[in-house]
């Protein structure tokens, strides 16, 4: 009858039988138990980690991840670093973009980048697709002239001799096409003599050897290398060079210095491909999205956009996500509330019936679970549409004129009705399992104490069924907040949810970053609501049975 479990007095640390401090001994014993428990849950833990936590982490990551721009255009983004965003960037930026996009096109990555940038800048998609094809025109000017001078410029081996380390070259020549290709190494000094060309050749070599697995000695360099060579020759003097292929290189140098050598500036080359390259917009977009991580997706998700001047609200006629978030929350609440209203009496009856009839009724409650979601939703269409069953009955009864049939589908009403029906079991089941644990003796006790039926229900029964309502509401609310099939089918334009846009961005527009940002916000909203629920009602007040 007392709760005195020992006074606070102490007399030194307690020792276990073997002399170790009792606390330590206890901790060891408990650790063993914990380890064993951990081993038991390990499979589930792994499963949850892999199938649940990892995708969520991936989603969070995707919503800010933006490495594609700097990965695909490393030189360009570096060059644009000191551009002020006014007018056009320097020629160096065009040059960097030429080499970047050229390589990206060889890797077939430029169109992906175009798709990515098209989310931010309309037209980027076709701009990059065209540029992938068009950039060859610039390089071919130089390639053709060098070839005309000496056919060796269009051969693989002379280039390898010019650029490659002799040791590497002999190894490469001895390579039997089996096993790993000897990695290309630049010859000593060539990087000083031909900085751009050697850089581009090294990139070319890496690509051929590692990505395509072609024998480097069979592949003549692509035209970007010729362009780079031209730049080095125009800038430097080859007369002092005496290494391999010196004669060939010096002849090319002479050609480049001669007045009849045809050149084309990168800027003109880009203009040739598409005049949009001479608009600052695309450059600004590239610069804006050059960091590895971006807040752009999140800003998009709340109807804002990233601009060079910071975050800005989108124009009115493009705002949609905040509206959809609000609508999703509002309708989920309405659906949850309708489920409580409809489900409570059913759960009450179920929990008060004898086992046999309760089981039969339970089957009726669960029946919708065993029908495909699409079938159920389509059935509501048949019921609610203007030429549907309910309207027909109303017209037949004379309650509604034939030419003023009610619109009950393809709007919010239709979504609420169909989703309430679909989610009702999720409300009834937890309510039922909580109600069936409330002993009848409470009700009897209340009545014996003089309470009327209503007082008994309201003061004694209802408070004890609240945990069931809580559990059901959380289930229904969270399920409905993420629903998209039903709203898509019966929601029309006013009954669709944010999840419909997420699904659209996942499967149609492929803007997974935006979808991830929207999903992350939705997750955050759910967590905040959960937290608020815990504060207001208390999460201990939720039980599933």
């Amino acid at each position: 009858m007392t709760d005195a479990t020992g006074d606070g007095s102490k007399s030194g640390p307690m020792l276990a039988a073997d002399g170790t401090p009792l606390k330590k001994s206890l901790a060891r014993a408990l650790r063993m138990q914990k380890m064993r428990a951990l081993m038991l849950i390990a499979p589930l833990l792994l499963f949850v980690l892999i199938t649940f936590i990892a995708p969520i982490a991936d989603m969070l990551f995707r919503s800010v991840e933006n490495q594609i721009v700097s990965d695909t255009l490393p030189k360009t983004t570096a060059t644009l670093g000191d551009w002020d965003g006014e007018g056009l960037p320097s020629d160096a930026a065009f040059e960097a973009a030429y080499f970047d996009i050229f390589l990206a096109a060889e890797r077939k990555e430029h169109t992906r980048l175009g798709t990515r940038l098209n989310y931010e800048q309309t037209g980027a998609s076709s701009l990059f697709r065209k540029s992938g094809r068009g950039l060859d025109d610039i390089g071919e000017v130089y390639q053709d002239q060098f070839e005309d001078l000496n056919g060796d410029w269009d051969e693989a081996l002379p280039w390898a001799e010019l650029m490659g380390d002799p040791d590497w070259l002999s190894e490469q020549q001895g390579w039997d096409e089996e096993g790993r290709q000897p990695g290309f190494e630049l010859r000593d000094g060539i990087a000083d003599l031909l900085p751009t060309a050697s850089r581009e050749y090294a990139i070319f070599a890496e690509f051929q050897q590692r990505e395509e697995n072609n024998n480097l000695l069979d592949e003549e360099p692509w035209s970007a290398v010729h362009t780079a060579l031209y730049q080095d020759l125009a800038a430097g003097d080859m007369s002092g060079y005496s290494g391999p292929r010196a004669e060939m290189l010096q002849a090319a140098d002479a050609l480049v210095d001669s007045p009849e050598f045809e050149t084309v500036s990168f800027r003109d080359g880009f203009e040739e491909i598409d005049e949009d390259w001479l608009q600052p917009d695309i450059w600004r977009t590239i610069k804006l999205y050059s960091p590895d991580y971006t807040s752009g997706y999140f800003l998009n998700s709340i109807d804002m956009q990233l601009t060079p001047d910071g975050a800005e609200a989108r124009p009115d006629n493009e705002r949609i996500y905040m509206l959809l978030f609000q609508r999703t929350l509002f309708m989920s609440l309405v659906i949850t509330f309708s489920c409580i209203l409809l489900g409570y009496p059913v759960a009450y009856i179920l929990s008060n019936l004898p086992m046999r009839s309760a089981n039969l009724l339970m089957i009726l409650v669960l029946l919708p679970f065993w029908t495909s979601l699409l079938v159920r939703t389509s059935a509501w269409k048949v019921m609610l549409q203007q030429q549907g069953v309910i309207n027909d009955v109303l017209v037949w009864l004379g309650l509604v004129a034939d030419d003023a049939r009610l619109t009950m589908i393809n709007n919010q009403f239709g979504t609420i009705v169909a989703m309430t029906h679909i989610l009702l079991p999720f409300m009834i089941l937890p309510m039922y399992s909580v109600m069936s644990t409330i002993p009848t003796s409470y009700v009897r006790a209340s009545k014996s104490l003089g309470a009327t039926n209503w007082t008994t229900f309201w003061r004694v029964y209802f408070p004890q069924s609240v945990p069931g309502i809580g559990a059901g509401s959380i289930l229904v609310f969270i399920l409905s907040i993420g629903y998209y099939i039903t709203p898509e089918i019966v929601g029309g334009t006013t009954g669709t949810f944010i999840s419909n846009r997420i699904a659209y961005h996942i499967s149609s527009s492929l803007n997974w970053g935006l979808a991830a940002a929207l999903g992350t916000i939705l997750l955050a909203v759910v967590l905040i609501l959960y937290w608020a629920y815990d504060k207001i009602v208390g999460i201990d007040n939720v039980k599933l049975g």
Binding site: R444, L449, T455, Q464
Partner: protein, 367 residues
């Protein structure tokens, strides 16, 4: 104490029957009256109909036939919350979402009693069960015994004249149960309330009640004060159900006034007191309480008759010795002897003679 008329009866069952399925009766023709202030216990095995009777009285079950009267008025059609009967439930049924004080305040609130009045009554009721310090706690924070006290206080706080208790001590350990038995009877007598108490524990029934109604098979088998019930059971069921009992089966060979002769199945002839046997040749069960059997020849009183017995088992139980014997073909014949300095301790296998007085030996129905 036979039931005489219903004029001064506070509680009355008149020819009450109850059936749940329309095929079998769980309560068969129940007639019972109780005066005000009585502590009556309904005792019986589970399924005997005792709880159903209690629930009909509380109003949670309706009588299929017959009338239940409270203070002379039929309450058959009065809903439970208007009957004004206090009730203590087996699992206490304290509302888990309310504090102790709120639990007690609840019956007063629904009776629209003013706040200050309410608080005074709640305090008084809690003090009465020595739980005054626990008003702010929740039921789950209390021990079983504490909950029991609170449940009792709640049933009494609105000052009902009749309180029903449905096996209220079933969930408590033995020591606590004995303490509470005393407290409940004490409180009931102090307050002068009428109590109907349901239990299947015969000790509880015997120690607490003014009268005990032994239920079996939907009928009251015997309604009597505890001593009468123990010493003068009216039939084999009561004899068997109340206390420990030895039975010897046989046939009546002769009835002479208040004695009869029984020929046991083993051939021995014994005298007994005829209780509910009427004819010669009728089968009977002879009932002898274990403590009325004497093993010491010297102490046998005059008129006692003796039988041969063989010791099967000897159990030392501290204050008493419990010895199992084989008597007249019955291997479950038990005797209890007091642990006195001169008492013999029998050994298994020993052949002895036992004896008892014919008036301690009751010839009952053969069931």
């Amino acid at each position: 104490m036979p039931d005489t008329g219903t004029s001064d009866a506070f509680v009355a069952f008149e020819r009450v029957q109850k059936s749940y399925d329309g095929e079998t009766l769980v309560v068969k023709d129940l007639n019972l009256t109780m005066p005000k202030g009585e502590f009556l216990t309904m005792l019986g095995p589970s399924g005997s109909g005792k709880t159903t009777c209690l629930m009909m009285l509380a109003g949670f079950e309706t009588a299929t036939y017959g009338e239940i009267k409270l203070d002379g008025v039929s309450i058959n059609n009065i809903p439970p919350h208007k009957r004004g009967i206090g009730m203590v439930f087996q699992n206490y049924a304290l509302f888990p979402h309310m504090t102790i004080a709120e639990n007690l305040s609840f019956p007063l609130e629904v009776r629209k009693i003013g706040k200050s009045d309410r608080e005074a009554k709640v305090k008084r009721a809690l003090d009465m069960v020595e739980m005054g310090a626990f008003g702010g706690r929740r039921p789950a924070q209390l021990s079983g015994g504490q909950q029991q006290r609170v449940a009792l206080a709640r049933a009494l706080v609105f000052e009902p004249e009749l309180v029903l208790m449905d096996e209220p001590l079933g969930a408590l350990d033995k020591q606590l149960r004995e303490k509470m038995q005393f407290e409940i009877t004490d409180l009931a007598h102090k307050l002068g309330i009428t109590v109907v108490y349901v239990t299947h524990d015969q000790t509880e029934a015997l120690t607490m009640s003014d009268r005990v109604a032994v239920f079996n098979d939907g009928r009251i088998q015997q309604l009597a004060p505890p001593d009468e019930l123990y010493e003068a059971p009216q039939n084999s069921f009561v004899a068997q159900f109340i206390g420990e009992n030895n039975t010897l089966e046989g046939v009546i060979t002769e009835i002479k006034g208040d004695t009869c002769t029984v020929k046991l199945d083993g051939g021995e002839m014994i005298d007994a007191q005829p209780v509910n046997v009427t004819e010669v040749g009728e089968r009977t069960r002879v009932s002898i309480r274990p403590e009325r059997v004497e093993v010491n020849k010297d102490r046998l009183q005059e008129g006692a008759h003796t039988l041969k017995a063989k010791v099967l088992e000897f159990i030392y139980m501290g204050d008493i010795f419990r010895t199992r014997l084989s008597v007249a073909g019955n291997d479950e014949f038990v005797i209890k002897t007091r642990n006195a300095p001169d008492q013999v301790r029998l050994k298994p296998g020993e052949e002895i003679e036992i004896g008892w007085l014919p008036q301690d030996c009751r010839a009952l129905d053969a069931l």
